[in-house]
């Protein structure tokens, strides 16, 4: 944290450095109280692909400075929620605000890590160049990334333990390394709130621990990280907050109070495969034993 924040602070426009302070006056309900503006506020959000709604009436308020997991079964609309609040998908109704304002006014505050499979990794470019793409939004039209951007991008690669791969062609990176390049690119966005779409999917142990360390660092810097997550086992360990989603919002809150068996059952229903499969198996064995016992008695 010592030197890591330095490049962030030098080049970030001062207006964006303290979004909470900046937006606190605008978004606070009562001027007397300093109610903190949530990092992400979603009201009555509905998203539809073609005719079929994938997200219904989502109401959500997530506090800044937390590591937040969005979990739910396949097809629950986790990625859709992420994309909708960033304006990447059209919203059928409702709204989403990031630090108190619509996403299109807050783009400088948003960092994004898309799913790794969403791009063609055989694209003719190297890791450093991909990371520098994070600076494109700040650079604006016509301006090319220069020495400052190069240096910042190298630093971001360092933070994910990939500094020695800077000039490696991206197709020659392993899956986990590609994921870390995407994380470094999001860091290069110098954002306040990060949206990550399944960063832990199919990565090696080294990458998983690198990501976790990074999440902790981001949290220590007061940033908000919202992660689409699929591994229920690690939720407690990695995250402070959890959002349980299955087309509708089932629960959202601190992990200790919200990540309960009851809520999980509600979210996954019959799909909570491990639990329900085990339960089924136990029931079946019990029934068989009872049957055998009966038959045995009958034979005697």
């Amino acid at each position: 944290m010592q030197t890591q924040t330095a490049p962030t602070l030098d080049r970030q426009p001062s207006a964006n450095t303290h979004p909470q302070a900046q937006n606190g006056q605008v978004g606070a309900q009562s001027p007397g109280q300093s109610a903190p503006v949530p990092a992400l506020e979603v009201h009555d959000l509905t998203v539809a692909y073609h005719r079929k709604p994938v997200l219904w009436d989502i109401d959500l308020s997530l506090p800044a400075g937390n590591l937040i997991a969005i979990i739910g079964p396949n097809g629950a609309g986790k990625s859709t929620l992420l994309k909708a609040v960033m304006g990447l998908l059209p919203i059928a109704s409702g709204w989403a605000r990031i630090h108190g304002k619509p996403w299109h006014e807050q783009r400088q505050l948003i960092g994004y890590v898309p799913q790794r499979e969403s791009v063609d990794w055989d694209f003719p470019t190297d890791a450093l160049d991909v990371v520098m793409m994070g600076a494109y939004g700040r650079l604006g039209w016509m301006r090319r990334p220069g020495k400052a951007e190069r240096k910042a991008a190298l630093h971001c690669l360092e933070q994910v333990g990939m500094a020695s791969f800077a000039d490696r062609q991206i197709s020659q990176l392993s899956g986990g390394q590609q994921q870390r390049v995407f994380l470094a690119r999001a860091l290069a966005q110098q954002a306040q709130i990060y949206f990550m779409d399944e960063p832990f999917a199919g990565v090696d142990a080294a990458t998983e621990s690198a990501i976790v360390t990074l999440l902790q660092e981001l949290k220590a810097q007061g940033k908000t990280v919202i992660v689409v997550h699929h591994d229920l086992e690690t939720v407690r360990e990695y995250f402070d907050w959890v959002v349980l989603l299955n087309m509708r919002l089932l629960a959202a809150g601190p992990v200790e109070t919200t990540f309960t068996r009851e809520n999980l059952q509600k979210t996954y229903g019959g799909k909570l495969t491990v639990l329900s499969a085990v339960a089924d198996a136990v029931a079946l064995v019990a029934a068989r034993q009872a049957q055998f016992a009966r038959e045995g008695k009958g034979a005697k």
Binding site: M86, L88, P114, P124, T125, D129, S174, Q189, E208
Partner: protein, 477 residues
């Protein structure tokens, strides 16, 4: 010239000598073809990387009805005495071509977005419908009153010889505009092709950029219409970038390289068609580009087919050599230190001096270790022998027996140790805790911190897998 056959070099040299370089037609045709090659290749790079290789083809075919309608429009205007721009006014025809090309692009995107039909199918549908309409209109015009001189059929397959100074100036102007636009929008276009969603997240208007790219591709198509024609122009969009991709891993080098290959193909095709009369320019340009592509496909140093094939072969041979070496090591180890099976690690280390005690392993013994064919094993053994790592031992029965040499023992020890450490690593990876592992490194000791390596060596000893046949100098890793 009749006496020299066309396949002799002399024929072509003579032809080049006899070319009238002051002939304006030749100059314009050459310049036009080079310009078209450059512009199409530059824009083609983005179409190629965006996965829109067929888009250029669809746009080009769709330009035909536009050309015909523009021609008809001019005729109609002149007939009514409203305006007279000349029915063969190139600008008007090109505007017609651009408009119908863009209409086609719009149709494709609407179909792909609002129906369950995928983009490739939408392209195929739109391409054939527009091209069919174009042929229909063209036939009507050809049979009409002023049709026979319309010269519109040259847009089908191109006719570079018909290029005149003003045409080439038009083409040059468009090519320059397109190249400048590409330069200015380079970073945005790169992002569009690599990761559109991320670009939108940054707040860049990706849909607009996509539209701009499309219009630019239409522009490149239109430049080539007169020289190469609607049917073949897509080749000039895609073949030079595809060829350039073989030589480089950086986009900022791929684009100039593609431009070079495209321009060169254009020039070469035009020159060949000037040398050999009755040979159409367009197809010759495409064939020249294809030659460049074939050379790239075969001979590019990294991505080329030969280089890849060679690397695959080299790796396979390396693996076979290492396997043979490991197997021979294992047999020697078991012979000289039979307690090897006692996995308590109590087995005695064997000093290198005892190597001569082993009378060698037969090919059958080696083959029994691993199901390789005799030919493969012999090949590997011969290579090892040439490297001086193994030697043949004459046995009483006369069958060949193989033994490690002292330097071979050193090599085999390293290989075996490396493989066993890998095994240990894979077995105990989780208990070692997450390490920053670069799996490309071929040796475990290159990426593991010393303490983890020491742990692995302990594990290896505990499992009785430590190589007991010690070379004179045990490598200190």
């Amino acid at each position: 010239m009749e006496s020299t056959p066309f396949w002799s070099i002399e024929f072509w040299l003579q032809g080049i000598r006899e070319l009238d370089w002051t002939d304006p037609t030749l100059r314009w045709v050459l310049m036009g073809s080079v310009l078209l090659g450059v512009a199409a290749a530059v824009l083609g790079c983005f179409a190629f990387l965006r996965g829109r290789s067929l888009m250029g083809d669809a746009l080009a075919h769709a330009a035909l009805p536009g050309v015909c309608v523009a021609f008809g429009f001019a005729e109609w205007g002149r007939g009514l005495g409203l305006f007279d721009v000349g029915s063969k006014n190139l600008w008007l025809l090109l505007i017609g071509a651009s408009l119908s090309g863009m209409l086609a692009a719009w149709c494709i995107s609407v179909i792909a977005r609002h129906s369950r039909i995928k983009e490739d199918a939408a392209q195929a549908i739109v391409l054939s419908v527009f091209f069919g309409t174009g042929i229909l209109l063209l036939t009507r015009i050809q049979h009409g009153s002023s049709g026979s001189q319309s010269g519109l059929d040259k847009f089908l397959f191109g006719q570079a010889a018909s290029l005149v100074g003003s045409d080439v100036q038009t083409m040059a102007g468009m090519a320059v505009v397109l190249c400048i636009l590409t330069f200015v929008l380079y970073k945005e276009l790169k992002l569009l092709c690599f990761d559109q969603a991320f670009g939108r997240g940054l707040g860049l208007p990706m849909a607009f950029l996509d539209g701009v790219l499309l219009v630019m591709i239409v522009g490149a198509v239109v430049i080539g219409l007169q020289a190469v024609g609607v049917v073949l122009i897509s080749a000039m969009l895609i073949i030079p970038p595809a060829a350039a991709r073989f030589w480089t891993e950086k986009l900022h080098r791929m684009i100039p390289l593609a431009a070079l290959l495209g321009g060169f193909s254009g020039g070469l095709g035009a020159l060949l068609s000037a040398l050999a009369p009755r040979m159409p320019t367009g197809p010759l340009i495409v064939l020249a580009a294809t030659t460049m592509f074939t050379i790239s496909l075969l001979f590019a140093p990294q991505r080329g087919a030969l280089a890849r094939g060679w690397r695959l072969l080299a790796t396979r041979r390396l693996v076979r050599r290492e396997n043979a070496l490991r197997d021979l090591f294992g047999i020697t180890e078991a012979y000289l230190s039979p307690e090897a099976s006692a996995s308590d690690g109590s087995a005695q280390d064997v000093p290198v001096e005892q190597l001569a005690r082993f009378e060698g392993a037969t090919e059958d013994e080696l083959r029994a270790k691993r199901g390789v064919s005799q030919a493969v094993l012999r090949g590997a053994l011969q290579e090892l022998k040439r490297a001086g790592w193994i030697e043949t031992v004459r046995s009483a029965e006369g069958s060949g027996r193989w033994r490690l040499t002292p330097s071979g023992l050193q090599k085999a020890y390293d290989v075996v140790r490396r493989h066993r450490l890998w095994e240990m690593f894979l077995m105990y990876e989780t208990s070692l805790g997450p390490q920053s592992v670069d799996r490309d490194a071929d040796a475990v000791e290159h990426f593991l911190p010393p303490d983890a390596l020491a742990q692995l060596e302990d594990r290896m000893r505990q499992n009785g897998l430590e190589p007991r046949l010690k070379p004179a100098t045990v490598g200190n890793f």
